[in-house]
């Protein structure tokens, strides 16, 4: 079990490209674009070489050392351009990693995605690919071929899912989902802003994945652990009980843990397993007979 502090360290290491994670997937929605998180990657990584593969914008970002407008290029042509810009065998690049940003993977056909991602990967490149989850999906002509979102989340070393930090308390998740489906995004609710929620799924080498939730402020470059709603509610309960009487009615974490671990009586009786078996447990005052009458004489 990792502590909250460790998770922030992990996030910062991932943003700074210090983890061995060659393909980082960023999932965004119409309510919160991945633009701010990509800015954070550039800020934290401090890498000298940033290649921006653009399908969506014509404005070259100031941090991009190379800007490739890809909308009229085939996926093979893009791979060749990237390898020409960042030669895989460059010896000086071994210590520092180059950042390759793809502003949207939605523009690559799903059948070409695996070839595209593996074609771009070299030991010196960290690939940050944005995928928009609200773009309508198309069934693949190949039977049972995975949808691009499923395929990308399967191969990604870490998944960054950005969600809006809704400032308007009257908008709940369901309202927001309905609004997005009707392309009628709520206004003044803090959507597409510089402060957002981030759900990070980090995959270890063993294959075990860990999920963390953060609030990221890209204006100040600060990261906090997201306080879940039920945690806040629990704190509220304690606040309610405080100063109510002279008795201490609250339970601290240790007491709560101990309380949860108490095994209540008769729980065994409620498991309607195979009944009728005589279970004999040897106790210290019992007379133990060496000879077993049922033992096989041979």
């Amino acid at each position: 079990m990792s502590t909250p502090q460790n998770s922030i360290v992990l996030l910062n290491r991932l943003l700074a490209l210090k983890e061995s994670a060659p393909f980082l997937l960023v999932l965004d929605t119409l309510a919160q674009s991945a633009y701010s998180l990509v800015q954070e990657f550039v800020h934290k990584s401090q890498t000298k070489e940033v290649v921006f593969l653009s399908f969506e914008t014509v404005n070259r970002p100031i941090y991009a050392t190379q800007f490739v407008q890809c909308d009229s290029l085939s996926s093979q042509a893009i791979i060749e351009r990237v390898h020409a810009l960042l030669p895989p065998s460059a010896p000086s690049a071994a210590s520092t990693k180059s950042l390759v940003i793809i502003d949207s993977l939605n523009y690559i056909a799903s059948e070409e995605l695996s070839g595209f991602i593996s074609g771009l990967m070299t030991p010196t490149i960290v690939l940050v690919g944005v995928f928009h989850s609200n773009v309508p999906r198309l069934e693949s002509p190949i039977t049972n071929y995975p949808q691009p979102a499923e395929f990308l989340t399967y191969i990604a070393s870490a998944i960054f899912e950005v969600q809006p930090l809704v400032t308007d308390s009257s908008i709940d998740g369901e309202t927001l989902e309905y609004a997005v489906e009707n392309l009628r995004l709520p206004i003044k609710a803090g959507l597409n802003g510089a402060v957002f929620k981030l759900v990070l799924v980090s995959r270890r080498k063993s294959g075990r994945s860990l999920t963390y939730k953060f609030v990221v402020n890209t204006a100040t470059h600060e990261v906090e652990i997201l306080q879940e709603q039920d945690e806040v509610a629990a704190n509220d309960d304690e606040a309610l009980l405080k100063d109510l009487t002279t008795f201490n009615l609250t339970t601290n974490k240790k007491q709560q843990l101990a309380k949860d671990q108490v095994e209540l009586p008769f729980l065994e009786a409620q498991n309607f397993g195979p009944g009728g078996a005589i279970v004999y447990e040897f106790e210290k005052d019992d007379d133990y007979d060496e000879e077993d009458p049922y033992e096989d004489p041979f």
Partner: protein, 296 residues
């Protein structure tokens, strides 16, 4: 509705409607409208603001604009404006701009160019709308022609640094032909490359939008329309939505104008320092076509 509630149109944090020129930044803006709430009044206001820096929707300039008997001079316009339409002809725009904004636009107007892409669309440019092999090349040729005409017009008339391009009902191409959304978006990028500010005006039909669809064919009209609109919102810096009242109809309100941040609005804020101020206005279009905005 009392006159005191009347509001001025302001889109950005500094109160402007169309941002000033920034050589390092080209904006993409999306205007959506629905059946029953047409965009003409809003697009006209944008054109007027682009050309003369005034806005007839705003209370202070509307008096002066309409009190002038003579049409306003486009010689010293603040930008070169190009309207590319896949729906209306020049007569439609010149009639409305004359009536509501006191602007005289003709084919020879300085700083204003109109490109009619509809009249000869299927006779000259797209001869095989259902042929998947040739459609991309034909549309590419059409947009190359449009780009060429824009570049020539800007060169021929008094030179302006600021070029504002308004494209009306571009989505007609994906509805009427087998063109895919990605192929059309490629042409949008090409237009964005030459313009300082590009405004794409498109219809948003709620019945043709299904974000959660899993289409079995790439030619499914709902899939194509949704794909285009969703990707446009993701890449837009600003989204202006003109839509009917959600609660039904009213005599003194025609519809709602919503100003929403697009997917890349943060890019605009970081590069130009301009922030889109999200808000909602109620608007009323009179019988004579003039619009008024009210606070919501």
């Amino acid at each position: 509705m009392s006159a005191s509630q009347r509001q001025d149109l302001a889109i950005y944090s500094n109160g402007c409607i169309i941002p000033p020129l920034n050589p390092a930044f080209k904006s993409l803006n999306l205007v959506t409208y629905q059946q029953g709430t047409h965009h003409t009044w809003l697009t006209q206001a944008l054109l007027e603001n682009a050309l003369l820096d005034t806005c007839s929707l705003n209370s202070d300039s509307s008096q002066t604009a309409r009190s002038l008997n003579n049409s306003r001079n486009l010689e010293d316009a603040k930008a070169h404006v190009v309207v590319v339409s896949f729906m209306n002809d020049l007569a439609h725009w010149s009639k409305n701009l004359k009536k509501c904004n006191n602007l005289d636009v003709t084919p020879s107007s300085p700083n204003f160019t109109f490109l009619d892409c509809f009249t000869n669309l299927f006779s000259k440019f797209i001869t095989a709308p259902t042929s998947a092999q040739s459609i991309e090349a034909q549309v590419q040729e059409l947009f190359a022609d449009v780009t060429q005409k824009i570049v020539t017009a800007v060169r021929a008339k008094p030179a302006h640094q600021r070029l504002i391009v308004v494209v009306e009902n571009l989505e007609f191409l994906i509805a009427a032909t087998c063109l895919r959304a990605n192929q059309l978006l490629c042409q949008v990028s090409a237009l964005q490359n030459i313009a300082s500010h590009l405004y794409v005006v498109t219809q948003l039909a709620p019945e043709a939008i299904d974000v959660s669809t899993v289409a079995s064919s790439a030619h499914n009209p709902v899939y194509k329309a949704t794909d285009f609109l969703v990707k446009m919102i993701y890449r837009a810096h600003l989204v202006l939505q003109v839509q009917p009242l959600a609660t039904g109809r009213a005599d003194d309100v025609t519809g709602v104008l919503r100003i929403v941040r697009g997917g890349l609005s943060e890019e605009m804020r970081l590069v130009t320092g301009l922030n889109v101020v999200e808000k909602e206005y109620l608007y009323l279009v009179n019988k004579d076509g003039n619009a008024k905005l009210f606070f919501r």
